[in-house]
Amino acid sequence: MTITPGNHNGITTQLGDQGLGQQPWWVEQWMELINGYRFKKRLERAWAYAREGNVLSIRFEGRRVHARVQGSGEDPYKVKLWLDVLSDDDWGYVLEALGQKARWSAQLLAGVMPQDIERAFAASGRRLFPFKLQEVRSECTCPDKINPCKHVSAVYYLMGERFSEDPFVLFQLRGRTRAQLLSDLAVQRRALLAKKASEAKAARKADGDGAPLPSAADGLHNPTPVAIRDPNRWWRYDAALDPGLVVITPAMEGDTGLDEAGPLPLAEDGRFPEAPRQFVEHLRSQGAGFSTAAMATAMAAGSNQEQPNDSNG
């Protein structure tokens, strides 16, 4: 996105005065943090700033957030935000704690931010979320001596929404991307499993039960070998059409991919209210057209081969 200075070209907030509405818990927590700030007046101004689009860009670069905010001057101010990064040792504790509950890994792998993730961080005496706003370090190129200035505060607001797009940026701010975290978790889990496996082996030995490790094939029937080795599969294909594909049908009510995925997790631009919803709506209406066309195509298939037996009576 190219950004030109100006009051009406920046990023605005979807968070109106009405409050938070249905937000993921981590966004709520972030907003609570901001609203707990003592200087209410400044917050209000920052809110207005955010709503009016003065924040031109927000970028997550490594462990820092870089933003540009149009202030009263000609050039936008540059804002930097960051959290205290966890040390490798601390991360080690966090990982160990995360490994204690399969659910944490399971949810992270499935793209869900666990609600009680803080408990894993508590193990190392640290937090994922800053406890107080003061823990959010910031810098702004504006002349205002007070930190956080209104430019920084405006960025606070918008960050909340960014968390809804990708909750895992919080990890990034603490020093690990989601990918790093998952791979670290995997390494740690493997170490843990390897230890368990060898313990189990030792236990069996101690029992004097020399049985070999159970293998996956034990007690299960083997399927026929993969058909590719079969020369018949080099050229031949004689499967009948899947009965479910004989007649091509539309989705049941509310069962398309779009229905299942729900709202698009993309922060709204204040100047384009409801853009994500509109985008999905457009996809949905186009999708209905795709569906009708696909059914018509499927219906037409093979109709030119219908044998003329019917007519020559």
Binding site: S57, A106, R189, A227, P243, G257, P276, Q278, A294
Partner: protein, 1039 residues
Amino acid sequence: MSLLHATWLPVVPAGSFAKGKAPTAGLLIWADTWRVADPVGPVLEAPLHPLSLDLDTLATWLDDNTFWSEDLRQASATLTLPSRQQGVRGQKSEATDGWSGMPLQAGEPLPKDLSWWPWQVEGWFLKPGPAADWLNLLPLSGYAEAGLGDDLHWWSHVQRWCLSLIARGRWLPDAAGGKASWLPLLNREDDRRRLEELALRMPQVVAAASADRHLACGRPRSNRLLVASIVEKLVDGQLRAAFAPGGQGLDPLLAAWDEALGDPGGRLALDEEDQERLAIASHHWRETVAGKVAPARACLELFTPPEGEELWELRFGLQAEADPSLRVPAGMVWAAGDGDLALGEIQVEQPGALLLEGLGRALLAFEPIERGLDTATPEAMQLTPAEAFVLVRTAASRLRDVGVGVILPASLSGGLASRLGLAITAELPEKSRGFTLGETLEWRWEFMIGGVTLNLRDLEKLSAKRSPLVQHKGAWIELRPLDLKNAEKFCAAEPPFSLDDALRITGNEGETLQRLPVHAFTAGPRLQAVLEQYHQQKAPDPLPAPPGFAGQLRPYQERGLGWLAFLHRFDQGACLADDMGLGKTIQLLAFLQHLKAEEELKRPVLLVAPTSVLTNWKREAAAFTPDLVVNEHYGPRRPSSPDALKKALKGVDLVLTSYGLMQRDSEILDTLDWQGVVIDEAQAIKNHNAKQSMAARDLGRPGKGPRFRIALTGTPVENRVSELWALMDFLNPKVLGDEPFFRQRYRLPIERYGDMSSLRDLKGRVGPFILRRLKTDKSIITDLPEKVELSEWVGLAPEQRKLYNKTVEDSLDAIARAPLGQKHGQVLALLTRLKQICNHPALALKQDPDPNDAGFFKDFAARSAKVQRLEEILEEVMEAGDRALLFTQFAEWGHLLKAHLEHRWRQEVPFLYGNTSKTERQAMVDRFQEDPRGPQLFLLSLKAGGVGLNLTRASHVFHIDRWWNPAVENQATDRAYRIGQQNRVMVHKFITSGSVEERIDRMIKEKSKLAADIVGSGEEWLGGLDIGQLKDLVTLSED
């Protein structure tokens, strides 16, 4: 004939598009054909596929067959194909340094030395979007006949799946890597199975251009990822082309995405930062809906509570996608640690992460699991009864939809078995023979749910517990709100139970009685015997050849006879559809003789057959069943009034007539009280609207007394859906319902969409009435000799008969008057001419039509009874995909017949005779032996083709005319019947009955002194015949 193929190219071939365009995957369409080609010697680069069609020929073919598309672009690719190692001609094998050989073609026999070798193939390329459109052009069936490879059939199924995904909206847009694209969602249970099946059955040629050498070389490895990526590209191509950007009120980010989704290149006009933002958002959006394509998935297995306890156990594990019965418990997954895990043959990488991810997804669909994931390596958890019920009732299908397998206890596993149904025990009443359909049986019944039986009192008690999951007789079952009411209703109805019900219930799955599904059916021993025979689970007891039958029955023929007699007792029509050469005629005659011997044959039986086989019937009946009185309703002197017919048929057992006369004389024939009607070559009534079919059907209806119906055919009737109805309408009218119902219920689903479940149901319905054995059946092979000789008796068409009589008349006089020196020559000329007349008048009259004279060949078959019969048999040969050699002693006849057969089947029929050059000969033989799609018929002259050649691909040999010397015929037969022959050889010898051909045949058989002379001295002896002997030899006998 060439065969079209389609191979997936992972990247765009070099030079086929303007530079600077983004490379894209797509479909390469190419074809191979059979031609004589030298093996390719060792070269540095992949050699050009020597059997592939060049671009122009391919383009013409595509255009001719309505497969041309403006989007096709020239392209070439290197395909790794199975190849035959073969030395280059003219080079000693030691001299060749490196590999030399030929690519294999579909259907070719496998050589011993097989290697996978790269070949350069030219073809036409389509990008994914146009490729999908092109695939939509493919037919639903009939691939081989249309010159389309099986791989295209696979492609058409892939595209049909894509259409289904699009129709069901199973897609989401993506924005990864700076590109907008459409991603199909393959997470649903059905779609997972489809991916698995298409991957498992993918013809290797599809992946022949793969950059992955394992895939390209057909080594065992899953094709799952390849097929998933193909579907991804095809769906993307179709949606991209169909999408109209223009969403209203979009911010710049979404506007760019919207725009790029409809753009062929898909590039997102955004800076890197925004691209990244979109990529993350789209990923996050999709990730909770669909996971990755992996060989295994997490599964949850529910166990019922131990006796006396309340809590259910839910165990975690992994399950192979390819075979859901392959499972490992979570404990084993955790124990695998860092290593791979093997589920049978399937290797799973990082099984721990896979299981965890699946459990994370499971949490979204079934919350109680959260409790079970509090430890580091959970293996199982406990569920309250309420939670277990939620899992059984609703969560299981949601879990499956997010890609998590669920295994429920058998009694709760859903489907019909877990519903309220019946368990029935029945037996024939003491005195019954079990042959009347409406007959009431003695029976008992109980209710059954989930495999356990219960009575109404049990149901009342269980319902009173007001719990959806209850335990009964040790099993957990699910009671539904209406179950008790339905059970009470059934008890109040007290329905009777007939033999008809028993047949119905045991014949088809999912049958109901008074709306309740029948879960279990136990028949008493006597009923069981009847049912088994009826359903062909057990063949009816074989019947030995009846007294008075002059011949022997092979064991399978005794079984066929037993079967005919069995259905006869039930008053059910029977269709005996044995393969050609297995002796349908003999079985039918034995059946009639059986009736006669049992003194059950009291009224005449009408047998309708094509005119060309009437002679054969007469001959066979005279030979095998001399006791049967046979009468022909044929010719100008046939009875022309009901009374005359009645009189003529007094004491007659079997009446033969033709289809034509059956229709013409239907009013007269209808007046007789036939005991049975048999139709031979029953495909003649395939068209249910034709007058012929209706006349046959009317004749089959009972008259004053019962009337049995039997149809004989050598064609695979059960596969010809459209013809089945007419056949069953003749045999057993009620089985398939009326025609409109049949068309809606069976014909359209099966013929248009290849619906297997309808086909299975149809086959189940008609199965009891059709008996078809193949020469290749194991039980038949042991009964049949390697070489089966069949005499095909034919008559003469009117024109032939006239010409024959006139020739004999004219010539005998002339020969009698001829001087001694010329007599021999004239006798020879006469015999030659008569044999030619038996073949075809045109041959004897030396007619020499232009091979393209369509009008001449239109009437060609009608002029010769022999040609008609030949065509009928060849029809079955072609249908079965077999190959045949046709021998004649007349070169002129070879040319005529070649032209006629080529008109008739629109395929090339090579003719090898004296004037064929040596190179041509070799080419014909090679092509017949090697080309997978080569000609099915091969004409040879007895002299030129009778020796030396190896033609083992043929499994039928036809001797169209007879030669004096059986050794010469046998030698010709041995072209096919020799080492290398893998099938049984059927030898068909045509004999025109009453003519000189029959005398020759008799002489050969009787091994008379005359015959010995013949064998010894060719045709020299003919000169020594006196006029009397000659007259006996040639005059047409009229029996």
